[in-house]
Each structure stands twice: as structure tokens, then as C-alpha cells.
């Protein structure tokens, strides 16, 4: 009998986040209750195979650009101090910043916070992001791999479904 059939809370949908080049992998729980539209939209895009780059504004986080610049409405908006393990979606409209940062006039991104003292921000200051998942295991090894990216450059990032509900 399923958890729901027994009156228990449904288990969260889970995603696997991995950096295959460094062997690091983590599991994150989707925040379906707080951020349903973002979770559903991103779930439908999985699996994703992306280039991850270390952020240069925000502290300890990596980010990857979504091809097609998928636009999602603000939801479960996090504007300030995230905690390690937070996974978010961020959309930057065209000409929001000077020029084309990362070669992109507009951008949709997924960000992963791997350590404290981090705040999503850009040239104009803190930015609001959609907090849609929290890493529940594997953060420590992911942290080591993410930190190395500031020295080693981009790495391949894979985000995939752990299980279908």
C-alpha cells in the first residue's frame, strides 16, 4: 500500500545531481508543495546534461544555463541567504545587465548552493530565485567538486529523475 493510501505524506520527487567528471553525486528532494509549477516544469525537462560554471558574484554556488531560456514565473522566491544544498531556478530577461553575460542576452539557469556565505546576486546586487529543491544526501562530495571548479573550470552536470511518482 502506498504512503498516500495509508494517509502518510507522499514521498517527495527526487532528482540526482552529478558531476560525472569528478565522480560526485547528490540527491535532492523537489519542493513540490512550495514550488509546484517550477518543479513540474523542470521535472519535464529531465534528464538534463549541462555545462556547469562556478558563479563569480554569489559565493559558493555553481550554475548551469538551460538551453532554450525556459521562462518560469517567480515562485517560492528566495531573495536572501540560501543554505548549502539549496537548488534554485533563475531567469534573467534580455538586456537586464549590460552586454550579454556568458554570451547570452537572456538566460534561464539552475543554481546549486554548496556552502555557506552565499547569496544569489549579479552586477546589480541580490537576485530573486525560485527555490525548488533541497539536497538531502551527497552534499559533502558535491561541495568538494564544486569548489574545485573555481580553479579547474567548467564541468559537465547531469540532473536526472531518481524515480517517477
Amino acid at each position: 500500500m502506498s504512503d498516500q493510501a495509508q494517509g502518510l505524506p507522499a514521498s517527495p520527487r527526487r532528482i540526482r545531481i552529478s558531476l560525472p567528471g569528478s565522480g560526485a553525486a547528490a540527491v535532492a528532494d523537489l519542493l513540490d508543495d512550495d514550488c509546484p509549477d517550477t518543479c513540474s516544469a523542470l521535472w519535464d525537462l529531465l534528464p538534463l546534461r549541462l555545462k556547469a560554471t562556478h558563479d563569480i558574484w554569489s559565493g559558493h554556488l555553481i550554475r548551469s544555463h538551460l538551453e532554450g531560456d525556459t521562462y518560469l514565473e517567480p515562485e517560492n522566491v528566495l531573495t536572501y541567504i540560501p543554505v548549502p544544498g539549496d537548488v534554485f531556478y533563475y531567469y534573467r530577461p534580455a538586456r537586464y545587465y549590460r552586454g550579454s553575460p556568458y554570451g547570452r542576452l537572456e538566460s534561464a539557469e539552475i543554481g546549486i548552493v554548496y556552502d555557506h556565505d552565499t547569496r544569489p546576486q549579479g552586477p546589480r546586487g541580490p537576485e530573486a530565485v525560485n527555490l525548488f529543491a533541497e539536497i538531502s544526501s551527497g552534499l559533502e562530495e558535491l561541495r568538494t567538486a564544486c569548489e574545485a571548479m573555481i580553479y579547474e573550470g567548467q564541468k559537465e552536470l547531469i540532473i536526472e529523475r531518481m524515480d517517477d511518482p
Binding site: 558563479d55 563569480i56 558574484w57 554569489s58 555557506h116 556565505d117 580553479y151
Partner: protein, 149 residues
């Protein structure tokens, strides 16, 4: 005026030390040169490249600003958390030398802007540095070397 060469990865640039505005810091820096160390891209300040210095100073508070410009060559104490995140979070810093290669960047600490000692101005090769730094961000960082010409 002392001229220094900055070699970053596959490119080079030249800077002039500002011995008038920062006489003590530039004298201290000249004693330290040549420097060769791993180049590191900022993870918190925007388009900044820096290198750790093999000393903790002290350096005087001299020719300081929180409004760094593209081409400024500066030294300051960077919070250790942005160099070695695993370190404890009490007040530990690394003394670094760095520059900003594109505008809209600002040096910050844990609680806001950080004043940096401007020790010189990059007068030649800034475009090359601004091209090389993003390339190294993608492909991995190599060395930076700074020496008196």
C-alpha cells in the same frame, strides 16, 4: 615610475605602480616581486582575478577605495572563506593582489564593500587580460606572474 609585467595564462599586460599615491604599499610590493602563483577567479566579486601573496603583510591603509575600476591593480585582505571555504568562519584572511578586468565588479567581504589599496594601474594589455580571464574560467586557471620590468 616602476613598470611591472603581468603574465596571466597565455597573455601579458603591463602596469605602472603608483608610487606617489601609495608610496609605502608600492615599496613593500617591490620587495615582494617577482610573484608567481596560481591565478584564481573571484567567486564573490564579479570579474576579478587574484593571486595569494606569500605573506600576511601588514600593509598600511593607503590609497584605498571601495570603488575599484577596470585596470586597477590592488592588494587587500580577502576573507579566507572565499579562498578555502572549508576554513573556520572567524576573521581569517589571505593577503592577495588582484585586478578587475570588466566593469560592474566590486570587492566585497562578508559584510559589504572592502577597501583595497590601489598600488598601480594596468596601462597596456588590459583587453588581453579581459579575454584570457573568461577563457580560463571555462578551461581552468593557470598561473599569474608579476615582475618588475
Amino acid at each position: 615610475m616602476t613598470r611591472v609585467r603581468i603574465a596571466l595564462g597565455e597573455v601579458e599586460a603591463f602596469a605602472e605602480l603608483d608610487e606617489v599615491a601609495a608610496p609605502r604599499t608600492t615599496a613593500w610590493l617591490r620587495e615582494l616581486l617577482p610573484i608567481r602563483n596560481r591565478a584564481i577567479h573571484s567567486m564573490e566579486n564579479g570579474r576579478e582575478v587574484y593571486a595569494l601573496l606569500d605573506t600576511q603583510g601588514p600593509i598600511p591603509e593607503e590609497n584605498q577605495t571601495i570603488y575599484q575600476c577596470v585596470g586597477d591593480l590592488f592588494v587587500y585582505h580577502k576573507p579566507a572563506i572565499f579562498v578555502e571555504p572549508a576554513w573556520p568562519r572567524h576573521m581569517r584572511t589571505f593577503l592577495v593582489i588582484g585586478f578587475i578586468y570588466e566593469r560592474d565588479s566590486a570587492i566585497r567581504g562578508m559584510s559589504g564593500p572592502l577597501a583595497t589599496n590601489i598600488v598601480g594601474r594596468i596601462t597596456q594589455g588590459m583587453d588581453a587580460l579581459a579575454h584570457e580571464a573568461p577563457r580560463m574560467r571555462k578551461e581552468g586557471f593557470g598561473e599569474i606572474a608579476i615582475s618588475v620590468v
